[in-house]
Symmetry: none
Subunit: 208 residues, 4 copies
DNA sequence: CATGAATGAGGTTTCATTCAT
DNA sequence: AATGAATGAAACCTCATTCAT
């Protein structure tokens, strides 16, 4: 590696670090107020950069906003994959999925507020590339459900797309309520119950 | 009834009508853009009143916004009560609840966008009186669930608060996706499947 | 005239007066700096109105800018018509036209700076309605030139469109130089000489 | 010539070349948008240099802007001199001057837009050294006019300063209109007519 | 009671210029 | 000498709210 290359690498990592700092500041600010109520000045102040600097890294305010899930999604998917490895049987995988979902937002409530309270309901967002890659991450759940149907642990007459909606629906609902109640309890408390409900339904318990 | 009283009643109903017109215009405008992106000017134009007039009926923009669910909630609850009458058994009542929920938003997508895409995730809103009365309407579902546990159609070891979250979670999720996809299909198509999923779960079908 | 009508007339004339005040302030500001270097704040200050008020009367900064010539052009054309009345013969009319042109800008140097130093060279301006009406006012000069050709005082083989360009060219040039030299001399001093030059050309004096 | 000197000469010509590249890029950019609407970033991009580099060669944006006519004027004057050589009689020289003026801008419309639509009307520009040297180039026309008066082809009672204004006025007017009309026709078409008009005036044709 | 003209604070974005590398 | 990241001031425009009529 020659000198120029070496120096450019340092410059590059500095740029990445500054970009990260801006995104982190944006997460903090956007999680308190809505997109419209947040302002660039405060993000710049928190990131310790000038306002104009933000526009060197992001096209505009919306670009910055929608850039937030990119990194976060990557980490989420990678970790989820690790957590699912070595687990056998769809039911156990579903329980793990539920656990990890709650665990993740328990650890990232600020990002949760942005993703679940703002972006999830934004007409603009669902046209974004970021949204596409986010959807991809929920696609793996379908694989688990199909696997369950093949191994006989999940009924074959269930619409797995709707089942996914049920799982995501209750998770989103639980996390959303938790966020709106200012995270006054530990989200993970719920994980076993949610798993039971999703897997066993509301009818009579199965004889074993 | 004397004349003055009579005239004042006419004046009163006129006032109520104008208030209604403003709220209706607000629903139309707030359902297109977010609270911050909507403006009073357009609401006034649609309601055929002057901008200043809105401030005779509502304290400020937020007051107008949060006034929207009041009327709507009243109609929703009344109709839901009627629909549930004469139905026996918790499972049937749950199915009817699901059907009515989907039916209501299928008929009121504009209000749906306001309630589910905006208010449901607003920190301010959950401190509102309106929110309190809205919650009351979802409280009746607990009664149905308890009834089910007593009559033996719902397992006694299920946390009914969480079960309510599951029901509301999937319904909100289904309606939210439908709204974001510009209502391109009929929401009611889903009602039977959702009921099956909630009631039977994902395990092996029960022998009858 | 009923009361409402009467009152609305007062309101109307107030609005017109305020609009006039804004235009006048705009003339003062735009004549000092270029369009881009001028700012709305200063115009508002000079007009004694709030910045936002300007946007009630004009769509945006450019709309305000291009609104300036409207009124002025009207006055110019009307006065010019009066001045040309009762004068016989194209040469005399041309002399009067030259005199009035110089007289007008001698009396309105601020407007001159805006029209001749800014608008005349603006690609945007020539697409404006205002420009169209302005051109109309220079069209009457063609009538005079045609009249001259018919009465035999102007050579028939001269391209009158080019002749108009010559007349406007020298007038614009003379006024432009005067404006750039901070109006240090009286513009009307030039009127006779310019007339001679345009009418007699540079060749040998005609024998009389 | 020693080695160091030789190398420094190469360095020098490289510097000159880079300066030229910047000026050329500036001409391209400034001819599209106004001085204020043009930006250094785009000029730097077109010149294939960094933004900061421009500030090594020019004090600031205005310095770069006003540097444009320097080179161009030099070429214009030199070529004009060549074209006038061997031509006898003021009228023929005036015709040639007109022809060359139109020819030059026909070949350099970008520079024309900068010089005639921007600089010519800039209060700042007329205080520039560049402007002084530009004026010098129009001074030679006075020599031609005096020559004409001495040889009897131009009337002695004509104010030659005003006559120069007439010639420059119509030329500027013709070229300005052509530039604003996006150069849709060939500018040189006009040259003979303009010469006729300037030389013969509008009165009766001279008997020959 | 109704109006709508007026306000002016506030926010996003651009861009000439600097300076450390 | 060249770079280009960083700066931060400046400006247009919007809009909720007020208040005189």
């Amino acid at each position: 590696m020659n000198m120029v290359h070496f120096l450019s690498q340092i410059a590059m990592s500095k740029k990445i670090a500054k970009r990260q700092a801006i995104v982190q500041a944006a997460i903090e600010v956007f999680s308190i107020k809505s997109f419209r109520d947040s302002n660039i000045r405060e993000i710049a102040k928190r990131a310790n950069v000038a306002e104009g600097t933000i526009y060197k890294y992001f096209k505009d305010k919306e670009d910055l906003f929608f850039s937030i899930p990119m990194e976060k999604t990557k980490g989420y998917v990678e970790q989820l994959d690790l957590h699912l490895q070595g687990i056998t049987g769809a039911p156990n995988k579903i329980r793990k999925f539920i656990w990890y979902y709650l665990h993740f937002f328990n650890a990232n409530p600020e990002y949760g507020r942005i993703l679940l309270l703002e972006m999830r309901v934004s007409k603009r967002f669902i046209k974004t590339k970021t949204y596409a890659s986010l959807r991809k991450s929920t696609r793996q759940i379908l694989g688990i459900l199909r696997e369950g149907q093949e191994e006989g642990t999940i009924r074959k007459d269930v619409n797995i797309y709707l089942l996914r909606q049920l799982i995501l629906g209750i998770l989103e609902h639980v996390v959303t309520r938790w966020l709106l109640k200012q995270e006054k309890y530990n989200l993970l408390e719920r994980h076993k119950e949610v798993g039971d409900l999703v897997l066993h339904g509301v009818g009579e318990p199965k004889m074993s």
